[in-house]
């Protein structure tokens, strides 16, 4: 078996799902969300931190997350995102869709 790659790009369309997952734990700012994804994936997933913001804005526009400016633990003012009820439902939907997708792809890729 070949060596596994040290880092991978984020699959298209999965960023929203991961952001919603990150916010399941409670509200967080952009930096914390990026760190959450990197830590949880053992730094396998590399996020270009800036790319979170268009996604966050889109989630906000869809009413999945709410945002407010607050002071962080390090005494910085930052914008904190919280999961809205619609976001919680969306997280469940995206998660189950993801599970189905992974199962399907795994079957396809299984050596015959």
């Amino acid at each position: 078996m070949q060596d596994e790659p040290k880092q991978v790009e984020i699959l298209q369309g999965t960023l929203n799902m991961m952001i919603l997952q990150a916010l399941q734990q409670g509200s967080a700012n952009g930096y914390e969300i990026a760190k959450f994804i990197e830590h949880r994936s053992n730094d396998l997933l590399q996020v270009e931190h800036g790319s979170l913001y268009p996604a966050l804005r889109r989630l906000e526009a869809n009413g999945f997350v709410k945002a407010e400016w607050r002071v962080s633990q390090t005494n910085r003012s930052a914008r904190y995102y919280t999961l809205a009820p619609a976001g919680k439902r969306q997280a469940v939907i995206e998660h189950s869709r993801w599970r189905v997708l992974v199962r399907a792809i795994t079957r396809v890729m299984k050596p015959a």
Binding site: N29, G50, Y53, R76, S77
Partner: protein, 881 residues
């Protein structure tokens, strides 16, 4: 201002601030792990990514993004335009001129011809009459009983009415106490006439069916003009009596201003008050006018009318011929009638002018965009999106269009004002001409489209070009290659063709007019005074109050007394004076040698005049052969006629002598001997040569309604003398429409002249547009090829040769365009020989002259910038690049 609005958009979002904080957190994280300030900074920036790009992405997601971007592009466009004032203002100016002029002309045409009368839902007003194709398409009139036929058999009518086909013969003389009586044109109409037109009286009440009964008390409806001019605008006039033709009429109302239908009508009286009119199917002198209910198509009415007239012909074979057919015409068409050809020429000319303007300014914008390929390539290389490039250039095009529209309104308004002042007075309703919004929007949107297309399409093409080559070549040769260049060449050809067509049309009409005027109208005595003096008595047909005998006696006595008055040199009377509108009497004729006496042919028709002796001498119509009428050509002697030269020519071509040949006016009519040949005269229009037959007033039943005199005193005194002699004979008669022959000719010519002025104006505008178009194209080309020119000059190329090289291509295109235009004109105008007089649209001299003129103008426009470019210091040009 725009930047502040943009800042507001961004601040409300605070995304930059949020990302700045993010950046700080990343930096602290690194610093905490012991990285240097520098390394931490670099890491944080790399980790976060291109903040600017992210901002753009987020920004473009905003719903108001479009407005903001639009404003941004517009601002940039304003700056670009201010930097290159010359070309953009030229493009806008050309568009403004084209839009303004074409809209002005269209507005005039619209006011005069398209929307001639202020009637609501005018398109649902139709006029009905009949033609008999077997009798040579000539008009058959309706009789009063047919009004009921129409009302009962045609479905979908709101109202129907009948009116006489001509204004002629219904005038009334208004007696005004001590003041001299005046004659007012009058039209008898059936009582629903104004309901058909859709206009209610401004004062008083409308006609009702009780007004229109045999034996009903006489009532009259006044026009606004008659009410103001003859009755002092008396608001209490309604219900009062006025005396006309020796009979008392009760005024029932006054129509609002502008309700002059038929044109020239001063008052209206009920039609169905005469037993003979109401009951007799043979009394045909009317046409029907109907108003349709909304939503009824005209085609259905035409079908029903055709069926009705077929059935009537079967039911009354004694009155109607089987070959007669109904004609249904919209009111507007009925009124424009003969003016239609000129209308189309004018409309075509204004569309051509608009097209020329669009092409010219499009060409200019196209050249600008091409010259900017280098700039576009630079913008693309610096990361601008293709959409942004297209939007930017589109904004420039839109701005040019906007300037053109605003300026175009100004041009149109002032052109309308000038043209109205230049126009002859007798063109009806011209003074009402105002900017027509519909045509303005049409012209404006076509101009906007042109400006837009000529910026966006090349921008789109430029945005797809390979970047490296565009940058490397520095836009030097790029602008002179490819499809865009071919488009521009096509533009030049089309524009030359269009301009040549406009100029040639104007030139042809000028020449036609000149030869028309120099050929002479046939009336040599321009000082002869003509006036309407018809006898009026009580009743519907005022002339019927007089017997044939008493009428002849009246005119005979009047004329002999006038001739005996000191200061008079000649006096005569005629059925219808020359150039009295386009109306006239047409009679069918045949010569004896043509028939051998057989009946039943369909006969050609010619103009018919009934005259007294001395008529030819009074108006200066030369008598070429034979003799004038005299008092011995009476009811009891042999019937005689005088014919015009063209008609006599026909006899001569048949190998016979005109004098002494016999002619009759209609199959089965009595034979008349030709005793004289008069020179040709233009009775209907100075532009129309016809054939005429004259009969003696003592031998023809028609009345001599116009008196013509000549004398040594001014016109006003001569007409006063006639009035005085007339009052001695009958104080209740009046004289109307006094005009010298010269005035009648000038009035008729005024229309032609006005058309000419318009066409010339078109031609001049087109030439300006063409030359400015060519100038700008060459100027742009020169700028784009500056480097190449500089190199060639540096290598020792002569200035003359350089200029020749630059121009030969363009001039070849101009000449090709001229050929196309000349061919089109010869084809279009040459097809209708009645349009021009004394000049042919295929005359190579005219076309050659116009083409030469256009060539010289184009050459001048092209030469100037080329010569300038060739004269520039090559070193300076090369360094600047």
């Amino acid at each position: 201002m725009f930047s502040r609005i943009r800042a507001w958009f961004r601040r409300s979002d605070r995304l930059p601030e949020e990302m700045q904080q993010h950046l700080e957190m990343l930096r602290e994280e690194r610093l905490a792990r012991g990285a240097t300030e520098d390394a931490a900074d670099r890491f944080a920036r790399a980790k976060l990514g291109n903040r600017r790009a992210i901002e753009e992405t987020v920004y473009e997601m905003r719903p108001l993004y479009f407005f903001d971007a639009g404003a941004r592009h517009l601002w940039l466009a304003v700056r670009t335009i201010l930097r290159n004032k010359g070309s953009y203002l030229a493009a806008a100016g050309i568009l403004a001129l084209g839009v303004g002029m074409s809209v002005a002309i269209f507005s005039l045409v619209d006011a005069v011809l398209l929307r001639p009368l202020p009637f609501p839902r005018q398109e649902s007003i139709l006029v009905i009459w009949k033609v008999d194709p077997l009798a040579g398409q000539h008009v058959e009139e309706l009789a009063y009983p047919e009004l009921r036929d129409i009302q009962q058999n045609i479905h979908g009518l709101e109202y129907a009415a009948v009116m006489p086909t001509s204004l002629y013969g219904y005038a009334k003389v208004l007696q005004r106490g001590k003041e001299a009586p005046v004659q007012i044109e009058s039209t008898p109409v059936s009582h629903d006439f104004f309901r058909v037109l859709g206009v209610a009286p401004a004062l008083g009440r409308n006609f009702t069916d009780t007004d229109e009964r045999v034996g009903a008390a006489p009532v009259v409806m006044l026009s606004d003009r008659a009410w103001r001019e003859q009755l002092g605008a008396d608001r209490k006039i309604v219900g009062q009596q006025i005396r006309m033709n020796g009979q008392g009429y009760t005024v029932i109302g006054v129509m609002p201003a502008g309700t002059e239908f038929p044109l020239g009508a001063g008052l209206w009286v009920p039609l169905g008050i005469d037993e003979r009119v109401v009951t007799r199917r043979g009394a045909t002198f009317l046409q029907a006018i109907i108003r349709l209910k909304p939503g009824i198509p005209r085609s259905r009415i035409s079908g029903e009318v055709a069926a009705l007239f077929r059935r009537l012909a079967a039911e009354h074979p004694d009155v109607y011929t089987r070959s007669q057919m109904g004609v249904v015409t919209p009111l507007a068409d009925y009124l424009t009638g003969s003016a239609r050809v000129h209308l189309w020429i004018m409309l075509a000319a204004s569309v051509l002018l608009l097209a020329a303007a669009n092409i010219s300014s499009g060409n200019l914008l196209l050249s600008r965009t091409l010259a900017r390929r280098h700039e576009i390539a630079t913008r693309l290389a610096l990361g601008a999106g293709r959409g942004q490039i297209i939007a930017l250039l589109g904004a420039e095009g839109a701005l040019v269009a906007l300037i053109a529209l605003v300026a175009g309104v100004g041009v149109a308004m002032s052109a309308i004002r000038v043209l109205v002042r230049l126009a002859p007075e007798d063109i009806p309703r011209l003074t009402n001409a105002a900017l027509d919004p519909d045509s303005f929007w049409f012209a404006a949107s076509s101009a906007a489209l042109a400006a837009f297309a000529c910026t966006v399409i090349p921008a789109w093409a430029a945005a797809r070009m390979p970047l490296e080559s565009a940058l490397r070549e520095g836009g030097v040769r790029l602008s002179l290659s490819g499809r865009a260049n071919r488009t521009r060449n096509v533009f030049i050809v089309v524009q030359a063709a269009v301009t040549l067509m406009l100029l040639a049309t104007a030139a042809l009409f000028v020449l036609s007019y000149r030869s028309m005027m120099s050929a002479g109208t046939g009336f040599a005595n321009r000082k002869a005074v003509t006036m309407n003096l018809q006898l009026h008595g009580p009743g519907l047909f005022s002339a019927q109050a007089f017997t044939l005998e008493s009428r002849r006696q009246f005119y005979g006595t009047l004329l002999s007394r006038v001739r005996a008055t000191p200061g008079m040199t000649a006096a005569a009377a005629v059925l219808l004076r020359p150039l009295e509108g386009t109306v006239g009497w047409d009679v069918p004729y045949e010569f004896e040698f043509q028939t051998g006496g057989r009946d039943g042919r369909v006969l050609p028709k010619v103009n018919f005049e009934v005259v007294t002796p001395d008529y030819f001498r009074t108006l200066g119509i030369a008598l070429l052969e034979g003799r004038d009428f005299n008092e011995h050509d009476s009811a009891t002697s042999e019937p005689v006629v005088v014919i015009s030269r063209s008609l006599a020519e026909r006899v001569r071509r048949a190998g016979r002598s005109a004098l002494g040949s016999r002619i009759r006016l209609g199959s089965g009519a009595r034979w008349n001997k030709v005793v004289g040949v008069a020179s040709d005269a233009r009775y209907r229009s100075i532009a129309q040569v016809g054939e005429d037959i004259y009969a003696s007033y003592l031998q023809a039943p028609q009345p001599t309604n116009y008196v013509v005199v000549s004398g040594i005193q001014p016109a006003a005194q001569l007409s006063a003398l006639v009035r005085a002699r007339m009052a001695e004979l009958d104080p209740n008669q009046a004289i109307a429409g006094v005009a010298t022959m010269g005035e009648l000719i000038d009035r008729n010519a005024a229309r032609h002249r006005f058309n000419l002025i318009l066409l010339l104006w078109f031609g001049v505008c087109a030439a300006i547009l063409a030359s400015s178009g060519i100038y700008s194209v060459i100027a742009e080309t020169m700028t784009a090829r500056q480097r190449e020119i500089a190199v060639r000059i540096a290598l020792g190329a002569g200035k003359g040769r350089l200029v020749r090289d630059m121009l030969s291509g363009t001039m070849f295109l101009v000449v090709s365009g001229e050929c196309v235009g000349a061919f089109a004109i010869a084809l279009l105008m040459g097809a209708d020989s009645t349009l021009l007089y004394g000049v042919s649209a295929r005359d190579p001299r005219v076309l050659g002259l116009v083409a030469g003129f256009l060539f010289v103008v184009s050459f001048g426009a092209a030469f100037w910038p080329a010569w300038n470019a060739a004269g520039r210091d090559p070193q300076a040009s090369l360094r600047a690049n």
